[in-house]
């Protein structure tokens, strides 16, 4: 995050990490008040860390410093918070249920017809990514014409893609990652309001260090260089 801030012309005033079972964010919030940053970016995860957003709102900080998060919504955090606590937090994921396109509309209609009153809220990307992953595999099986493991793997590596509710998802043979659409949304009334759409975003960071076509049997851990 610090790297992306600097790349974008900003700077990080301070960075703090929190153990996963920390529930008291009073000291952190006071530190932020003292540092007076232009914005706060949260990468907090898990039930205990939801406390941060509640204590942030309770301390009256929501109207003073805007907040963005790369993780908020992935675990349906937006459902836990009341609208006055959550509204306005800006998040980025490769899918939100509120994404406005024909494929998503058709998908949600079928989804609701199938599950009726028990239809869960899909929220951010997690459920949709699992669904898309399954469909990518199915595409591989179709192209290979068999479920034989090696043949399916080869088919998956031949550059396949599926069109679905999140947009087009392409499997990148160089990294085994996917090129996909990314959406920026703000939390609104326990759901999301999609603000921006970035089509065909490649997994650029992994592509910069990994090429499985050149090195098909690579078995070392590669680290993306984020030194600033």
């Amino acid at each position: 995050m610090t790297k992306y801030f600097r790349d974008g012309g900003g700077d990080a005033v301070a960075v703090d990490f929190f153990p996963l079972d920390v529930t008291n964010f009073g000291p952190a919030i006071q530190k932020i008040q003292a540092a007076k940053p232009d914005m706060v970016v949260s990468a907090l995860v898990g039930g205990a860390h939801v406390s941060f957003y509640r204590q942030w709102a309770a301390a009256g900080m929501k109207s003073r410093i805007p907040m963005a998060s790369t993780t908020f919504g992935g675990g349906n955090e937006s459902l836990l918070l009341s609208p006055e606590e959550g509204d306005g937090i800006v998040c980025a994921f490769s899918y939100f249920q509120e994404v406005d396109n024909a494929a998503n509309k058709a998908f949600l209609e079928k989804f609701r017809a199938k599950l009726g009153a028990n239809t869960p809220y899909l929220g951010a990307e997690l459920a949709m990514r699992s669904y898309t992953g399954m469909r990518l595999w199915a595409e591989g099986v179709k192209r290979a014409g068999t479920t034989d493991r090696m043949k399916v793997i080869e088919a998956l590596g031949s550059g396949i893609s599926v069109d679905g509710p999140p947009g087009r998802t392409m499997l990148d043979p160089k990294t085994n990652h996917v090129t996909l659409d990314v959406y920026v949304a703000e939390v609104k009334n326990r759901g999301f309001n999609v603000l921006q759409h970035f089509p065909n975003s490649p997994p650029a960071d992994t592509q910069s260090v990994c090429d499985l076509q050149k090195e098909p049997n690579a078995n070392r851990q590669v680290v993306v260089d984020v030194r600033i």
Partner: protein, 288 residues
């Protein structure tokens, strides 16, 4: 000046939270020597009862201060009758049974209410202290913890029921010989401990992420507080909460949140090395 005041309030708030989440466990452990590993889930049930009561249209304060302790207290009666009563004096078996209970409760709540429940935000707005602002509800939490502590102390110290409970705690055989129905005293103590845990869970609900597994974030902390406190349940738990809470908060301020946690655990380990019976094993021995 406002920095000192704001930091002081944060430290107090850290202490109060620790005390609040530990008090129910301290009552059950101090009175009955029962190690309740489902304590975290009692907190969770308190939080859920409050949230569901608010969703059903009950006033927020009534939901937190009346409905939650009542629900979890009644649940405590059931648990005592079905599980705890059969295992008195068998500490390891009780731990195993309550651990199973904790897993079952997490599973049951997830099955009934799903992984998420729409919580309510903290009432009372925010309070400005110079350049800092803190939540009014946080201040209320500090006050509520002190009132709760004083209430438990007063009941134990001044009422006949408190006298009987203390007598049973010190020497159950003698109390029984004097005609005290010790089984009922134990049942009521367990229910009281559960009710206090339920109240604590409800009170922290607007400031925490209420999910079925939320108890796991609190259980270790409350055990460390109670064990560090030692035999005297109120004096021990409050002195341990005071020490560990301020070490944690100030450590977090001066260093990082990670080191703040490490420091708190280090102090607890050091204390138990020096005072294996807990703080009240040496100091305030005659207190409650």
């Amino acid at each position: 000046m406002d920095l000192v005041l704001a930091t002081g309030i944060q430290a107090l708030s850290g202490i109060a939270t620790l005390l609040l989440i530990s008090l129910g466990l301290a009552i059950v452990f101090g009175m009955m020597r029962v190690i309740n590993l489902a304590h975290g889930e009692f907190l969770m049930l308190g939080a859920y009862s409050a949230i569901l009561a608010v969703q059903a249209g009950i006033n927020l304060w009534v939901a937190m201060l009346v409905v939650a302790p009542l629900c979890v207290g009644l649940f405590g009666v059931v648990v005592e009758r079905l599980v705890i009563r059969r295992l008195y004096g068998r500490m390891v078996d009780t731990m195993l049974a309550t651990w199973g209970l904790s897993l079952a409760l997490i599973g049951a709540v997830t099955m009934i209410f799903g992984n998420t429940v729409a919580g309510f935000s903290a009432p009372l707005g925010s309070v400005q202290i110079g350049a800092y602002s803190t939540s009014g509800y946080g201040l209320f939490l500090i006050a509520a913890t002190m009132v709760l502590l004083a209430a438990v102390w007063a009941v134990l110290r001044f009422t006949p029921a408190g006298l009987i409970a203390r007598g049973t705690m010190q020497n159950a055989g003698m109390a029984a010989a004097l005609g005290v129905p010790t089984e009922r005293v134990y049942a009521l103590s367990f229910a009281a401990g559960a009710a206090v845990s339920g109240l604590a869970g409800a009170l922290i609900a607007p400031m925490s992420g209420v999910v079925p597994t939320m108890g796991t974030a609190y259980i270790a902390r409350s055990f460390i507080t109670v064990i560090t406190g030692g035999a005297a349940m109120l004096a021990g738990t409050s002195s341990a909460a005071g020490l560990l809470g301020s070490v944690n908060t100030l450590g977090t301020f001066v260093t990082t949140p990670v080191l703040g946690e490490v420091l708190m655990l280090a102090v607890a380990i050091l204390l138990l090395r020096l005072l294996p019976q807990g703080i009240t094993g040496r100091f305030f021995r005659r207190s409650l």
